[in-house]
Subunit: 156 residues, 2 copies
């Protein structure tokens, strides 16, 4: 996993996201890469990202699933079109809906591993399923519906 | 809305949550109060809580819906039992699942208003529906299933 992360390839105007933007200094800097047909993100929560002492805050988990999934949707679209994620016109997705099942409490003190697969691509919509593992245990399942941004709605 | 927020009444051991804990110095400090049958949270995103310039980050929105909803579930249970939220044994809920529909982009530059209602209480499970408004526009819908923490699973 030495190639540049999906998010490191985004065009500058898409790089201010609090969750994954490389240019957002206060942000979480989620980074995702392919491992075969799965996309993988390793994330280390800060000590204060807790729900209770010892357990990761669920809102943080929702956040990293969000950015990892929309990035995966973009990377899959780029791959299907045989071009780079950051090539123009930009391929970027926004979140239409996010569903998170907290299967068990997620412990602090170990990096979180998110593994995602594309479940469906239909027109501009892509469905991404994610499992979050902590210390090898599957703690969370996420399902995100991403919608490709029409070029006419792009930020300046 | 001058009475103490739900989260300001939580027992000390429940007050370290990144989303709503009064003792988490880096946290978001979500605060919720009743307005009749609805619970209301007013939240001002920080300038860096963006997805793109001008629009609020969806992961932040999921986070504040999470804490506002579990707090609402606790407050409703306290009200039903005729006692204080912070009274012992503590009434606290964790998130079993969170669903968020991003109906339209949420603009920055205006306080966010979350309004929630209890949709179902069955045994230890409470379903909370939330709408997020920005500048009077309904931008997001959330549905959260909260589960009451058994006393045997309480953090120390």
């Amino acid at each position: 996993m030495t190639e540049r992360a999906f998010q490191e390839q985004y065009a500058e105007r898409y790089s201010y996201c609090y969750g994954c933007g490389r240019l957002n200094e206060q942000g979480l800097h989620v980074k995702s890469r392919w491992e075969g047909e799965e996309s993988v993100c390793i994330f280390e929560p800060a000590p204060y990202h807790i729900a209770f002492p010892g357990f990761v805050y669920g809102g943080l988990i929702a956040s990293i699933i969000d950015c990892h999934s929309t990035g995966t949707a973009a990377a899959a679209a780029a791959r299907a079109e045989g071009r780079e994620i950051g090539a123009e016109p930009a391929i970027r997705f926004v979140t239409a809906s996010l569903h998170v099942d907290y299967l068990k409490p997620t412990p602090m003190g170990t990096p979180l591993e998110l593994r995602s697969t594309i479940r469906e691509v239909r027109g501009r919509r892509t469905v991404v399923e994610t499992f979050l593992f902590a210390g090898g245990e599957r703690c969370v399942r996420g399902e995100l519906v991403a919608v490709r941004i029409p070029e006419t709605m792009e930020p300046a």
